[in-house]
Amino acid sequence: MLIVVCIKQVPDTTQVQIDPVTNTLVREGIPFIANPYDTHALEEALRLKDQFGMRVVAVSMGPPNAEATLRKALAVGADEAILLSDRVFGGADTLATSNVLSAAIKKLNEQEEVGLVLCGKQTIDGDTAQVGPGIATRNGYSQLTLVDRVDQVDLAGKKIRVRRKLEGRHEIVEAPMPAMLTVVRELNRPRYPTVPLRLESEDREVKVWNNEALKLDVNSIGLKGSPTWVSRIFSPEREKGEIVGDGLHDPKGTSRLLIEKLLSKDLLPV
């Protein structure tokens, strides 16, 4: 049985700046990383593999350089890595992205039964949290979002029970497999790759599937298949707030200023 992990390569957002003139992301020289939530999805898949012996396939849709992120997945123990890359996939929104990923997962299912699809809760660049549910809907899988604990996997009975982390409460849900899970960071602590695995992953194959392999209608993928598009990216204007004093050089004086200010606005209970 396969566990498919969807991993998106994202720019390291702590280092991303928005070009104030063009309103686009300044991507030059910014390193790419695996979307942090996705590393938790991968970790969970590896733990299930350790426990049940399922095979883990990491899948990513992106430009050719996304191979680096998949190689890291191989280095921590994924059995196979597939890069979905083709010019015609470019410019995809969440709908078009889900179409490509769903098709790839279906294709994998033809070779070996897919039991679980694991996604991150959301990405740190797009932030829509739509792709996972998009895959579940398209492939008719159970949809378990915001998972922070996997309680039970019943391979024979094809059932999975997980805990979902919601606002102020948890929910325990059981669902038939195949199931798609989106995961939160509390789920686990991703492992660190051992050196032998890293060295070995250096020349393992990252397969590339283009649209010849997936044979999707070009009107359902990429820019053409994307009903939404981005009209503008901008940093919101700072409406309120000011920098008080100089905390670095005069912490005491600054605290005093701050307290006085809060007191004058009647914001501190006296």
């Binding site: 390291d12 702590t14 280092q15 390193p31 990383i33 602590r189 991703p190 492992r191 660190y192 790759p193 051992t194 050196v195 032998p196 890293r198 060295l199 070995e200 670095l248």
Partner: protein, 662 residues
Amino acid sequence: MTPNFIIYAPLLAVSLLFFSWSCYKRFALIAVGQPENRFEQLDQRIMGVLTYALGQKRVMARSFGLNHAVIFWAFLVLLLANGEFLISGLFPALNLALLPGPIHHLLQFAFDAVSLLALAGVVLAAGRRLFFAPDYMETSYTSAKSAEAFLILGSIALLMLAYFGLHGAMIAMGKESATYMPVSGLASTLLAAVPAENLQALVSFFWWLHALVLLLFINYLPHSKHMHILTAIPNCFFKSLEKPNTQPREEFVKGGRFGAGSVDQLAWKDLLDGFSCTECGRCQSVCPAAITGKPLNPRQVVHDIKINLLKGSLEQDSYVPGQPLIGTGEGSVSEDAIWSCTTCGACMAACPVLIEQMPKVVKMRRHLVQMKSQFPEELLNLFENMEGRSNPWGIAPTDRTKWYATMDVKPFDADTTEYLLYVGCAGSFDSRQKHVTVALAHILDAAGISWGILGKEELCCGDSLRRLGNEFVFDKLAKQNVALFNEKRITKVITQCPHCFTTLKNDYRQYGLELEVIHHSELIDSLLTSGKLKLNHQVKELGKIAFHDSCYLGRHNDVYDPPRNVIAAATGSAPQEFERNHENSFCCGAGGGRMWMEEQLGSRINLNRIEEALAGKPDTLCVSCPYCLTMFADGIKDLQADQIQVKDIAEVVAEGLRPVNQ
């Protein structure tokens, strides 16, 4: 002296055979270690033997050490006496009396006098163990009053007494003269009451006593801590000629094993170390981890490695370990112990026989990190930040230039700037250390130095990675840095951090990068001495300043005087010393990557050091390392000793650069 040849010859033969077999067994075990070249630079090695083994330099560094030195030197002289004894027992005609008279007499006198010294030495040693043993002699597997120790001391005493008894009786019989053997002469007077016909029996008795004790002693050696009698001299010969922390690189090829997860993955010298330990406990007495109650004791590490090695078995050419090297119980080193080490090097500086305790710990870390991905939780972020953003905190590399917001700082350019100021991660990102960077930049400008920085292009030096055993990522980082330094044609580097200092200076040499690396304390010292840097006033406002030697500047790189000179020049008086100073300095607790880990076991190392400082009632603690700065600032807060401030040496000097009226 007519022993019974028929009994003695086979006895001697069996003893020597058994002794050789015991030694062979041990050396065969040492040979299971990994190869490592410890034969280069013979002149330095011979010097090492002369200074540390024959010269007993380290031994004598402690109060009672002279006693050991006397016993050791006596032992060397008596080697000859005992050699003669064993041989002339077989062939009575083969003895030292064959030598020219004056030489023979000189030797007789030497043996006689030295035997007395040795006897006094062992009596004192026994007395020390019984009545005033220092507490560091105690440990889990042995104690000052161990039977083994008294067995050895007792045997030596017995040998000396038998020697005097034998020669005393010979003199009493008129077969030897007391002229050159005053002590034996004295012994003969004690035998005056013995009837002449019994003297021969007495000679035989003492001869056999001497022979039996000697043969038993020789055969006991390889099975006891006194194996060091055989291995200490070679151990000093094979000492590491590198800086303590500059351990061999690992070659990352597929199918390789990295670090040491079993004894046979340690180097042969690590195993020789195990047999060379004298169990003196000095390393334990200076180890910050052991002192603060953590589960690490450097001598226990050495001991456990030896026990582990002995528990395994040699089968044909392969060695089969008897128990895991990393684990619990005697013969294994616990993970908690392995992660407790600050790599301060105090153990290595204290060891009389030049054992390398700390590198073994790092080798085990290499195994845990690289083969097992098993390390304290806190390190996961550190490792990822280092690899992803080349700094411990994971801050955006673009922020590396933020410290000089208000200054005019030039990028390094080999054609126009002389020095690279390697700011370092702490100097770039740590809010407190950024003040130090600014102070240093002002000093460089005031002295008219031509300097520049790498800015956004600067990478972490990788010190913490290497000490934590993440050699794989260190290796990548080191290669990137070496390429960057070569590309920029950098040759002279100023650092404000002893960790950057040692890494660029010593570790990168293993990558073929030879740099002139100068710690800022050295540079400021030379600028003040040459008059290039002139202060506007003598710094009095910081009060009494105590100086703390950072491990990586002092012990690891022998930079002791420059910071002291700087303080003296800036303030007009020499700094106050901590009780433990120079090579005896005590770690702040942050080295070896401990900076990035929680300190949950035992008491806190930084508090131990601050408490020591408080004894001298200083106004300012002066440091020369960003980690020390952090640890001290935290410690002072914890102890509510806010009357004391912590300053880097550059800040002390920058104080003197302020106009007088400010």
